[in-house]
Symmetry: C2
Subunit: 357 residues, 2 copies
């Protein structure tokens, strides 16, 4: 059966890194139908909206979305609803992509790239499971209002609503426990239960779901402490599960511990295993079009896509092995280049992965 | 005129570290009236509440509060309203302590303690200005309800409200701009304006207040990016200003970059410069009563108290110089001890600071 993939390159370096991932996918001898569509600032420029209806329709009909990156200074002046990031939020919400999987892995060959001491990060392999469609991201009511009473009566006030329904917490809990069961069996749930009702609610449900996974050891950590422990002793974590807002912060912090965010893929899945796959880094408009960006995070995102949405784990394994091989060969794009390794361009890195397949 | 100081030792290592700070204060030849009262778990044990009325009344009548730390596993089973941390939240709210100043400084002598590479953190000197009485910490409505409609109708839902009134943002902005003006003149405001109404509101007001401080350069950063940049290049920051929730996370992350959180003081001020001063670290119940905890963060908090609430900057300078001196002498408590330095106890560290005064 043909697998349909929506290819959304987006802005900045998006097109050039996605191009390499598409070359890799085409080389695999799988029955894939790839269809490209505009998204983000590029879509706003072409069609007046960062997530045009045709693009959204294509994504809905596809088994998976291969996404580049969105955002460019050019669009900073737009009102929020038209800014490139809204495409990301819109796709997550429309497709119900509630489970974001963000591995933070430090490849041994790249240990020097980290700002942390090698002994602190060597061998790092954390999986952050971030809930992606709930929390304060989409919570209503939200807005700006004028206060009628209280200590700031007469003042304008900006406000948002954080919330989680039981179903939302349960389903991300199951994703996280299952991931932990396949790994080292340790799950750390991060919240702020000493302050937030939403967090206490979240924690109680995590504890309840844990009874179905006796093989997984569940622990709880406040988000401020988690932000510290990631810096102090990141290797102590196996799988981390947390809400949308805390997950946004902690997954980026964890990614940066590796010093090579250009290597880190991500997956965002819904209940029917439809998914959006994108590199963890951004659109880097400052280096766009120069053929120097690192395509490996996008290529590894394509591998995650094969594994999670297209049921093609062997092909995913092949891609991951090929990436390992090019690193072992000493090939490096500018972001991870160091003395003694060979600096290659975006397309040369793509060539090398193809050859290693 | 006599300055009145409420001394609230609290739980865990609180009493022993506060004791050393009190010795230092008494040695200064200032007109201080120090009155001790229970807080946190100790107060719950003695009086049934983590913030007894007498303790709160004392704090209100004082010019400043010297606070140890609260929290102990012993109290984990209590309902949230009786847990030790509620004392912290209660004092902040009752005294209107909206401005939390959290320096993250790496003393050259302690550079090895960091999990980051020395070249990344040597000379680190960041000031995080965290708003402390608004945001989602105290926002109403909050609770658990049953959903009547929507995709999760029938579900229970935990919820909280994030909000900031204009007055709240303006007053913390002024504190931050003034701090930046006295330092390197660079202020980074951290928010999540691409997602949150509260954040866009916050950002607009920061931009407005900036016009009163032409000598300060204001920049904006999303919280996820800030969590990354703190790991990647922390020395790029001078002063950071942010809301209560993001400040909770980022100030702890920044503190841990130094690897020596036992050295970091904090101040929480209200509009009349009344303040609560406490170490940035917690109550560490596992090492309580062993005379091994590091009293320097508390001693440096006492110095901040003299500077900000008691208008006694010269005395603050003396304490800070004395702490520098004991570090230069090679004296270290267990948490910062390394080969080639002299390991001392809590009280011996207090002795050394007194001698160096
Ligand atoms: C672009 C932004 C809305 C988005 C988020 O906050 O989720 C991004 O930071 C991410 O993590 O994918
Ligand atoms: C104890 C807790 C409520 C508190 C907070 O979140 O503010 C603490 O983490 C802090 O930063 O002082």
């Amino acid at each position: 059966m043909t697998s349909r993939i929506a290819v959304l390159p987006g802005d900045g370096i998006g097109p050039e890194i996605v191009e390499q991932a598409v070359r890799v996918l085409r080389a695999l001898d799988l029955d894939l139908e790839l269809t490209e569509a505009p998204v983000g600032g590029a879509a706003y420029a072409a069609k007046g909206h960062p997530l045009p209806e045709d693009t959204l329709a294509l994504a809905r009909q596809s088994d998976a979305v291969l996404f580049g990156a969105v955002g460019d200074w050019k669009y900073d002046h737009l009102e929020r609803a038209l800014r490139p990031e809204q495409a990301v939020l819109g796709l997550r919400k429309a497709l119900g992509l509630f489970a974001n999987l963000r591995p933070a892995i430090l490849y041994p060959e790249l240990a020097n790239a980290s700002s942390l001491k090698p002994e602190v990060v060597a061998g790092l392999d954390i999986l952050i499971v971030r809930e992606l469609t709930g929390d304060i991201y989409f919570g209503q009511p939200r807005g700006v209002r004028t206060l009628e009473d209280g200590p700031f009566a007469g003042d304008r006030q900006g406000y948002d609503t954080m919330h989680y329904a039981e179903t939302e917490v349960r389903r991300i809990a199951h994703v996280a426990f299952q991931a932990a069961a396949r790994r080292q069996g340790r799950l750390c749930s991060v919240d702020k239960a000493n302050v937030l009702e939403t967090s206490q609610f979240w924690r109680d449900i995590m504890i309840d779901v844990a009874r179905e996974y006796p093989q997984v050891e569940l622990s709880h950590m406040y988000v401020d402490n988690a932000a510290m422990q990631l810096v102090r002793a990141p290797k102590a974590f196996d799988v981390v599960v947390t809400g949308n807002l805390f997950g946004d912060i902690l997954s980026d912090e964890a990614a940066m511990l590796t010093g090579s965010i250009g290597m880190l893929p991500s997956a965002s899945l819904n209940a029917s295993r439809q998914g959006l796959y994108e590199p963890s880094h951004g659109s880097a408009p400052d280096i766009a079009g120069q053929n120097i960006a690192n395509p490996l995070a996008t290529i590894l995102s394509a591998a995650m896509m094969l594994r999670y949405s297209l049921n093609a784990a062997p092909a995913a394994d092949r891609i991951e092995a090929a990436v390992q091989a090019v690193l072992a060969q000493g090939l490096r794009t500018a972001d991870i280049h160091e003395n003694g390794t060979t600096r290659v361009s975006t397309s040369e890195m793509g060539d090398a992965v193809l050859k290693a397949l």
